[in-house]
Each structure stands twice: as C-alpha cells, then as structure tokens.
C-alpha cells in the first residue's frame, strides 16, 4: 500500500492534478467503509450515512 500511495503521489505531481486529492480521499474512505462493513456488526453504521 505504501508503494501504491507513493506512486499515486508521483502521478498527481506529474499531472498537476492536486484537486483530485479530496475526491480520492472520499473514495478511499467510502471504499474502505464498504469493505469493512460487509457482513459485519459495523454494517448499521453505514446506513446512517445514506
């Protein structure tokens, strides 16, 4: 994961697409949440978000 983030950073710098960072952060959070809550006790937590 470390190398992935490093590469993502290199890409963002090379393309000067810093404005994508908040979009990516939100996607990562929601993506992570979906993975974590799949079939787990934390699942109801996600319903309050939608």
């Amino acid at each position: 994961m470390k190398s992935f983030i490093a590469e993502l950073w290199v890409y963002l710098r090379a393309r000067k697409k810093y404005w994508l960072i908040p979009v990516l952060v939100v996607l990562a959070l929601f993506g992570g949440l979906v993975v974590v809550t799949q079939g787990s006790a934390v699942a109801p937590f996600i319903y309050t978000l939608f």
Partner: protein
C-alpha cells in the same frame, strides 16, 4: 533484451514477446481459453510466449502493460465530476471494480507473475506505456519504413482517442491528439449498438452491411452528431450519446433523430433502414479518416503512413486511403485492435530502454506474416487427433497439398490448419476455412451450414501476390487482409436490369463476377495477398489450385463458427469439423475426411457461442 508485452483487463487480452526488437511470439488469450474477447490476465498466452523460446519469466528484462491505469482512472473521475449527477449510475457500476482491482493493477500483475516464476520479483521490471503509444509503436516499429506518419484511431485509451505521430528510426514524436469523449471509434460503436450488434466486436458486421444501403443519413449525422473540421479534427455532440454518463452508447435524442429505437438483435430483422444507417456512418467515417490523412500528409510531407487502433481494422476506409494517394505507401498493423497493444507496448519499451537503432528492410515488415502463435509438430497433431477419436490419413507434404486443392476444386469446404497461428483477428492461411470462390452457392453454404452466421456477411479472398492485379484493382501488397479493392471490370459479370434492381441481400445471391463467393454487392473484396516468403505452404496450395482451375484465388474465412474464437489446437479444429458442415481438415500432414469419421462424435455446437 527480452521484453514481454501484455494487454489485459479490458478486452482482447494478449501477450507478445519481443527479443532484441524482433517480435518472436504473440497470441490472444481467447484462443486458449475459448472465451471470445477474453479480458482476463493472459496466463496461457504468456505461458505460450515463454515456452515458444524456452525462456522463464526471470529471463525477461521487462514486462510492459499496454496502458496507464492512473491516467484512465483520472479520465473516469473527471468525466463523472463533469456530468454530476447524471453519471451516478455509471459511476456506481465502475467504482467497485476500480477501487478493488484496476487501481491496483501493478500489484495484481506482480501477483500473477509471481505464480509463474518467483524469480520475477522486482517491481522495477514492470513498466506501463500509454495506450496510444502502444498502438503507435505496434504500427511503426514493425513496419518496413525508416520514416512514416503514424495514425492511431480507436475507441479510447486513457484520454486519447486519435493520435498522429512522426516515426523516425527508433523514435515516435506525437504531433496531434484528439481526446475523449470525441472519438471516431466510439461514434462507430454507437451505430454498431444502434443497429443491434455487439460493441467492441460487431463493428466489422456494420462495415459488411454498409454496401447494401444508401448513405441517406450522412447529412443528419454531420449536422447533429459530429462536427468535422477541414483538417479531420472532429467533435461529437454529447447530447445524443450516453457512453460518458450512462450504461448505453446512445440516448433517446439519438433515437428521435433517426426515428427508431435501437434494433433488438434477437427480435428485430435487419431492414433496409439499418443498411442505410450502416452505409451512412461508414461514409462519415471515411470522410473523417480521409480529411485526417490528407491534412497530415500536407502538414508533414510524409509519403509513408502506418495505421493501428481498432478503426484501422476498417478495411474499406483503408482501401480509400490507399486510393486517395495522399500517401504512397501504407502499412497497417495486423493486430490493430487492443491485442496488438501488447506487441506495441513491448516494442516501445525496447527502443526506449535499449536506445538501439532500428533495422528495416525495404518492402518487408518484421511481423513474419503475423504467424506468431502456437504451432504443432506432425507427430503431435497425429497423437492429439487420435486421442479424440479422429480417423486420420497421413500424406507427404506435396500429396496433402494436391489432395486439398482437388477437394476445393470439387466444391468442398476444407479446414486448413498449418504452421503457426495468426496474431490478430484475421485468419491468414494458418487457421482458415477454405473454399472455391468460383462457386455461386459457396457464400450461402459457408454462412449458413458452416459458420452459422447471417447470410449478408461477405467472404474474403486469398490471392497469389503475383496475380492480384489480374483480378482486383490493387497493385500492391495486402498480406493482412486489411485493404478492400474492387474486382477488375473484366472479371465482372453484367447483371440484367431485373438483377440490377434487386435490393440488399437478394442482390448478393446474383452471380456478379467470376469469383462470386468473394465479391460483395458493390464489387468490392477484402483482399489477402499470399506471399511465398511468409507462408510457402499456403502459397503452394494456391499455386496448385490455380494449376487445376486457372483461378489463383480461394475463399478464406476464419476457422471457427459464429462467435467462437478461431481454433488454436488440433482438438479445436476436429471439434469444429464434427460440429459443422465442413467436409475435411488438412492439418499438418494429416487429412481428416468428415465422411470417414464416427458419426457418434458429431456434435451441435452452433448455438454454443453468442452472436457478436
């Protein structure tokens, strides 16, 4: 330097191996897995490439993937953001796959490679090229030119949909790009979808349908859908399309423009309306391509043109480029679609990393006839066929050629399985079904009894290179069946007034030339010139057929049934023989006659594959 190119995870996965700048092995994954347009990681194709030259993955200096996932993801995100909230449905469908898998392609590829060989551990060995860079490299580096203009046209890569580059020696410099969502490939695919064929695979059917129609919608397309500039640059009016934000190619407004909903393939018949639509989009495509090539020829002064990208498989447009005369010489990558991206990626990395000069031979490309796939020794063919219960007769090489020519002259359809399999979508005499083009019923027989496909589909001729100009309006080479030219006037048969007035498919059944099975309704033919140096055995067969019949031409269609990947192994070929109306197989030095086989082995697999 050993470089392995990979195209995968979208459609038409493939692997290609380049050693010291020479393509030595390449194959599409679908041929091994038997799943048409297989998009999975090309395990078996990689295995074949390495096995063909006896290398291990740890012997490979670099593995190169044919596009850049971060750039593609950027395009998706920016497109969704630009179309908020209309793109939510598509966003919801795309994101899980990207967040789970595609964004982490490097890890995924490294995991796959570690299963082959632990020796390939270093992530530094894994490189990525841009999609159109790979297409351009596949078009220029194997070409016979020292310098050329390189034009790539397809649906979309990362952002680029159309690119022009100047190729010189071992370098490619991009001089023009058109970006998503303005795409000639996607425009053609939108009409493919509208006429009821599958996107990404049915485009060639739309091209085959076009000669039946009249281009009466050209003005509607040009005034509403696409704005074409003098230099061939174009903009698509997104209010008629749904591919950026939705899950379909076209929207309601598009349907209203033409007055009908999209054709439902299993329910609605193909009508003259659909033929007119096909003719219209084909005419617009040709206009865009010709404006592009003319303006680029003027701008660069180049006399050589190389083409790749899915649109370069539009052989009707290619023929027009050649006849237009803006360029003296034209070379088209035989695997012009995404599979060829694997080869291009490997070649791009080779010249970028090694810096070595590129050697060219005038008039001869480095694709080896595109025969870069697997081959089988005669002994292996015999044992494999025996294992599946085939009754086989073996002959000397020349006796087998004589026998095949005799069967063809007697009106039989023969499966021709010889040497290495072709790389690219066309069968070029390695895995082909052959027949006599002089027969007026052969087109119907092949379509309905052997290929199980629509009767409007034309067949292509293979012709001895030496004789091409005697039969077709073509002087040069067309080794990869990517150029269309007309049958010469003196070979045509005059039609009666009544026949002239026939329309659409009825006209196809009229005998319009000395070679009706390969003559389309507009007298055009998609030509393959057969060369002694790249396929001596097929050349010998054509020469023998000519000696017997006076005709140096054979019908050449891919060795498969509708919707099936082209056969790869002797077992695939035998299954096709037993499941279709094919009369015999000429495979290695074996002759397998259908009427000598155990009828219990016959199987109906005509509906096992989906329509394109």
């Amino acid at each position: 330097m050993n470089i392995l190119g990979i195209s995968a995870l979208y459609h038409d996965s493939a692997a290609a191996l380049v050693i010291d700048g020479q393509p030595v092995a390449a194959a599409q994954e679908e041929r091994f897995t038997r799943k048409k347009h297989d998009s999975a990681f090309p395990r078996e194709a990689v295995q074949f490439c390495l096995g063909h030259v006896g290398l291990r993955l740890s012997d490979i200096d670099h593995v190169v993937f044919y596009d850049k996932p971060f750039l593609k993801f950027e395009r998706l995100l920016e497109s969704y953001i630009a179309s908020v909230p209309w793109g939510f449905q598509s966003f919801r469908a795309a994101m899980p796959v990207w967040l789970r898998e595609k964004l982490f392609q490097k890890d995924l590829l490294l995991r796959e490679f570690s299963e082959f060989d632990d020796g390939f551990a270093s992530a530094d060995k894994l490189l990525f090229t841009e999609h159109h860079q790979a297409h351009a490299a596949s078009a220029f580096f194997p070409s016979p030119f020292d310098e050329a203009l390189v034009l790539t046209l397809d649906g979309v890569g990362e952002w680029v949909t159309t690119s022009a580059a100047l190729g010189s020696g071992n370098k490619l410099n991009v001089i023009k790009e058109i970006h998503f969502p303005h795409s000639l490939g996607l425009l053609y695919s939108a009409f493919t979808y509208y006429v009821g064929f599958k996107v990404n695979s049915g485009e060639y059917k739309l091209m085959g349908l076009a000669p039946y129609g009249k281009p009466r919608f050209v003005e509607a397309i040009k005034s509403h859908l696409v704005d074409i500039k003098e230099d061939g640059s174009f903009r698509l009016n997104q209010s008629y399309f749904d591919y950026v934000t939705g899950l379909r190619m076209t929207n309601k407004r598009f349907e209203q423009l033409f007055g009908r909903p999209p054709r439902r393939p299993d329910v609605d018949d193909l009508e003259p309306f659909h033929m007119d639509i096909a003719a219209s989009i084909q005419a617009v495509t040709e206009e865009i391509v010709l404006r592009l090539t003319r303006s680029l020829a003027k701008r660069t002064g180049q006399r050589n043109l190389c083409l790749a990208g899915g649109v370069a498989l539009n052989c009707v447009a290619n023929g027009k480029i050649l006849r237009d005369g803006s360029f003296e010489n034209l070379w088209i990558q035989p695997a012009a679609g995404d599979a060829g991206g694997a080869l291009g990626a490997a070649l791009a990395a080779y010249y970028a990393r090694s810096g070595r000069p590129r050697q060219t031979t005038p008039g001869r490309d480095s694709m080896a006839g595109s025969y870069l796939g697997p081959e089988f020794k005669d002994s292996e063919i015999q044992s494999r066929l025996s294992a599946v219960g085939a009754r086989v007769k073996t002959f000397t090489h020349s006796a087998l050629v004589e026998r095949t020519a005799e069967a063809l002259a007697n009106g039989k359809a023969v499966g021709w399985f010889q040497g290495r399999m072709e790389f690219g979508p066309r069968a070029l005499g390695g895995r082909s079904i052959l027949a006599d083009p002089r027969s007026s019923t052969m087109q119907k027989v092949l379509n309905l009894k052997i290929k199980f496909r629509e009767s409007f589909r034309p067949f292509a001729p293979s012709v001895l290179r030496e004789d091409v100009a005697d039969w077709f309006e073509l002087e040069g080479d067309s080794p990869y069946m990517l150029l269309v030219a007309e049958v010469r006037n003196e070979r045509r048969v005059a039609m009666s007034d009544q026949e002239e007035n026939l329309f659409g498919i009825d006209k196809l059944n009229v005998c319009r030339s000395d070679i009706p099975a390969v003559t389309h309704v507009d007298y055009s033919a998609r030509i393959q010139t057969v060369h002694q140096d790249t396929n001596p055995r097929y050349h010998e067969l054509l020469t023998t057929f000519k000696r017997r019949t006076g005709c140096p031409i054979l019908v050449n269609t891919s060795f498969n049934v509708r919707g099936e990947p082209i056969v790869c192994t002797p077992e695939d070929a035998f299954r096709c023989l037993m499941g279709t109306g094919l009369d015999a197989l000429a495979i290695g030095n074996c002759w397998v006659a259908k009427d000598e086989q155990d009828p219990a082995l016959a199987q109906d697999y005509s509906s096992a594959f989906e329509l394109d």
